[in-house]
């Protein structure tokens, strides 16, 4: 009688699958995706200098997307809703800054930058207005829907309506043409980084500002009573209420902070390129891709997701038509989700 040897070791394919489903696997996947992009640039014969320069641009774009994505993921976590108006909150922020710059006296450009001190006031104005408007929409639309226990899909559709409303108001007020914060000011790439890579000083300002905001978000979430209450409410809203947390107030602050960050992100995007009424709408898909890639509700995950997507988007433009950038973002997201459906930072099986 011959006994078939029983192989108790898991088959190699299953071991690979288990590895890919772990957090390390997520990192490996990302590295593989970037390796493919890198190989594609080499095949195309893209000079190293351009490659590094695109990576730097990608990090800057990722920083801008991150500010939007962090707000979006906080709203998803605390309210369990998808806010399709988030991209248009970004556009609104840019146009609010445009309005403020038009009203304020125009100062001399500060140092190497294209903008004067009034720009900083306009940024603050845009953040406050968008934060307040985000809260208003919650107070008069979403809160009423939640009180009636409306399905979350329906609330998400309502946010799509808000998105159209905001964009239409921008079209009515400013028209559909391009606008610039400072029309006619030359913005040469004078700042030299390393390896002879030159960027516009404005872009360094944007990157620096993104870093400052991200540190502030970290501080609020980890070190303040409000931030901990936001994380607690996202974790378990019922338990937050029975701990004495006024969750209505947490919801209010979540909208305000999320809106203000979206506003800032829109202003920064507008400073880098130009203003269009649909600028934020086109960023909505990369925003959601970052949020999902970094695990829904996790602000640090959203940051990493946004940087990955920003870099993949920019670097792939060396060998693809740049119009495909958002599609590249989605391909990266789908590859990761195939192996880790919970995103890079989620626990397995959750």
């Amino acid at each position: 009688m011959t006994e078939t040897p029983v192989n108790l070791q898991p088959r190699p394919i299953e071991r690979i699958r288990t590895l890919m489903a772990s957090r390390l696997g997520g990192v490996i996947l990302l590295l593989m995706v970037f390796a493919i992009i890198l190989i594609a640039t080499l095949v195309k014969g893209v000079p190293t200098q351009q490659l590094v320069s695109l990576t730097v641009r990608g990090l800057m774009l990722g920083g801008i997307i991150a500010l939007g994505a962090i707000g979006l993921t906080l709203i998803s976590g605390v309210l369990k809703m998808a806010n399709f108006a988030h991209g248009d909150f970004m556009s609104l922020g840019a146009y609010m800054a445009l309005l403020a710059i038009a009203l304020l006296p125009t100062g001399q450009p500060m140092g190497p930058f294209s903008f004067g001190p009034e720009f900083l006031a306009a940024l603050l104005f845009a953040m406050l207005v968008v934060g307040f408007i985000a809260w208003l929409f919650d107070r008069f639309i979403y809160r009423r829907l939640r009180a009636r226990r409306t399905m979350s899909v329906v609330i998400a559709m309502a946010s799509l309506g808000v998105a159209l409303l905001v964009r239409s108001l921008i079209y009515i007020s400013w028209g559909g043409d391009f606008s610039f914060f400072y029309t006619g000011r030359a913005r040469p790439a004078t700042a030299e980084l390393f390896m002879g890579i030159r960027v516009r000083p404005d872009q360094l300002f944007i990157l620096g500002l993104a870093v400052v905001f991200i540190i502030m978000i970290w501080f609020v979430l980890e070190r303040t009573r409000l931030g901990k209450a936001m994380r607690a409410t996202a974790d378990n809203p019922d338990l937050a209420r029975i701990s004495g947390i006024n969750t209505d107030r947490v919801v209010m602050w979540t909208w305000f902070i999320g809106g203000a960050l979206a506003g800032a992100s829109g202003v920064m995007y507008g400073l880098d390129a130009q203003l269009r009424p649909e600028m934020g709408w086109f960023l909505l898909l990369p925003l959601f891709a970052s949020v999902i890639l970094g695990t829904l509700g996790n602000p640090y995950g959203a940051l990493v997701g946004a940087l990955v997507i920003g870099v993949a988007w920019q670097v792939s433009s060396a060998f693809l038509n740049p119009a495909y950038g958002p599609a590249v973002a989605f391909v990266v997201m789908i590859i990761v989700l195939l192996f880790r459906p919970q995103g890079l930072f989620g626990k397995a099986g959750s």
Binding site: R225, K228, A229, R231, A232, A234, D235, N236, D238, L239, A240, R241, I242, S243, G244, I245, N246, T247, K347
Partner: protein, 234 residues
Amino acid sequence: MALLEVRGVTSGYGQMEVLHDISLEVGSGEIVSIIGPNGAGKSTAMKAVFGLLKPWQGEIVFDGKQIGGLSPDRIVQLGLCFVPQVENVFPNLTVDENLDMGGYLVRGSLAARKQRIFDMFPRLAERRRQRAGKMSGGERQMVAMGRALMLEPRLLMLDEPSAGLAPLMVDVIFETIRTINDAGVAVLMVEQNARKSLELADRGYVLATGRNQLDGNGDELLDNPEVARLYLGG
């Protein structure tokens, strides 16, 4: 006068009435246990007291104040804290942060209150930087009770504190309830483990199909042949 008085409360979910005319009392410093079969409305009764469900009829009075229909974040301010049966910790927050959230309403330093919790549960002190979601069932129950004790309540409500725990851990939890009570905190708990909880309790209530069946001293109920037959396994 009783610390907590529930008089003739009717409540339920949506259209479905689960509690029919429930009444119970907890005196200052007492341990009161509610026992009964699955689906008897034990947990629902706890939720109705704590404002997670609105009472349709009847009164809930805590320390002389009507609390029926108040929101949970108002009720905790009066000195009444609640540990639900499941999902009773913030999984992505550390042990420290869970306790911070328990003391959310406290203005000023939480250090002394936290130290008292850590004295009671030394195991939590060792793991204060760990996320609650990564802990064992028993440790999570300690975090949950610690969180509820941060406001130094006069009445602690526990929904099935021993559910799903290893036997050794069940003893630890019951021991802790005794310690908490010795410090002057009244306890109202719902338990599947009828014998253990009646041994610990001053008084008990038996609920069935959302109605009061029996009540009495813990020992009386333990000796009651009907309770023995139905809930104590002979």
